[in-house]
Amino acid sequence: MARISLRNVGKRYDDVVALAECNLEIADREFVVLVGPSGSGKTTLLRIIAGLEHMSAGDVWFDERRVNDVDVGDRDIAMVFQNYGLYPHMSVYDNMAFGLRRRKLAPADIDARVRRTAQLLDIAPLLARRPRQLSGGQRQRVALGRAIVRDPAVFLLDEPLSNLDAHLRVQMRAEILKVHRAVTATAVYVTHDQVEALTMGDRIVVMHQGRIQQVGTPAELYDNPVNRFVAGFIGTPAMGFIECSVERTGNEVALRAGDARVGLAPQRAQAVDRASTVVVGVRPERLSLVDDASAHADTLTVRGVVQVVEMLGSEQYVHVEVPAGMLTARVTRDRPVKPEEIVTLRAAARHLHLFDAATGAALTAPVRGEI
């Protein structure tokens, strides 16, 4: 139970900048996910919150306490590592009790806590075993149990599910959330898997190259990505991008990519302002496969060559190379598509995301409307 506050946190290793200007407020009992590709700094940030690494700049606060100089063991945190970090020479019971013994609790007290947590995680029958006798999923639960039994103010989880097979991972996600609801502590969870982030987090922090790109609920990130990176990172399949040039004729502003041309509504035209090129992003589900290639008002109609078709049961993802970019359409399987085929894609203008060609920043959000 703690509020976490990161103020201008930075970290460098000699000449390499791992983190820069990270500001983040985490509310008490929130489940926050740090997500980003490898090298984005998410694990480094987590370790700084833990105290396993020291920041080069900035502060970390737990509630009203500045914890920069507070030792790892005194921060009232528990951590679950990617490789579990279980003590190989101790039984599951001892693994879980080890941290408690440090705090000088009565043995009966420790015993009660360990058993209660083991029950919660369904590992009671494993208490006498050694880690090497357990499966990956079981070790994961023990690692979780070891953290839970400490009853900390903050839970820190560093890609705990990365080493599990896909099926188990999905199962464990639900387990972790269930446990979080039961223990009422603040949790910070690191993953590189954006699907995991979207399904688990109250709020998500997208990181890239050591900086926080955007913080928000899954819906906020999905609907209003603040830059091209977030837009392309969140969402499956990924958003498609094409580069368009800006045409101004009188009061009208339009975007052009090869033969395709789409006019912009006045409020959006303002945001485009003085740019000469703009990057347009389209969510796959907003694209439909159409048969007539004629331009329609207020739509982006573009033709391209199909590169890959991914069949996914009831729907298919069609990856199309268009002039100045690549778009992916998520459509039903009613209309069969083959690679090398030339197809026409259409999306409503109000569903287009516009990004600055140079900085990647979002220029204007799509108009909210029908889902």
């Binding site: 790892v72 063991g73 528990a78 951590m79 490789n83 941290g99």
Partner: protein
Amino acid sequence: MRASRIVQAIALGLALAWSLAPIYWMLATSFKNELEASALDPTLWPHAATLDNYRGLVGGTLPFPTFFVNTVVTCLATAAVAVAIALPAAYALSRARFRSRGAVAYGILVSRMLPLVVLLAPLYLLLLHAHLLDSNLGLVVGFTTFGLPFAVWMLKTFIDAVPIEIEESARVDGYPRWQILLRVVVPLILPGVLTTATFVFMDAWNNLIFPLSFMTTLEKQTLPAALVVSFTGQFKTDWGGMMAAATVTTLPLMVAFFAVQRSMVRGLTAGAVAGV
């Protein structure tokens, strides 16, 4: 392809013969009586086997049991002391980045490279002034000059192999470093600790130059030095007796060697194969 198999088998046989023949010779000679041992045309195996040579060790003019005890005591002490002092340093070098880390590591490397003879005169004078000449303690001090750097280096490679997450879990649990070392790391590298101790033990057992230089009283000598001294004295032409003494000197070392032989590989290769 059978031909090459046969050649390989012969080669292997030769290698085994080459490795074992001298040791056999030592053992065989130790059971020969004086006449047979110094015969001009040596016999392949003892025709008149006798235990006299071994009996002579216990009852003879030179106190071999005492030499044996001296050697065991000093070598065990060196192993224990070296490992105990080296463990924390090896842990620090393995786990932490601190400013003088490079200097310390380099210094230890240089210590390992040091020709012992360079230290001989000053160490002699140092021990002389500290009244430690001709004493087991002084000898242990001498042995530590090579035992300690070696132990640090070898223990470090074993500690390097322990996944850092295990220690970080303990840190998160609030355990101070020294307790993490003792309660988490050491139990996990126990075979490595024993291997290191054995290596130090063996190195000390093998050392001749320090006992020869620092011990003046014969009764306090170690086995290797005693062998050298006794050769000019008791065993002038008694090769049987000499070989018996040699066997006794060899046995503990061989036992220790084979006890840790398997674990030895990891300690050697972890450092060697991956780089210094």
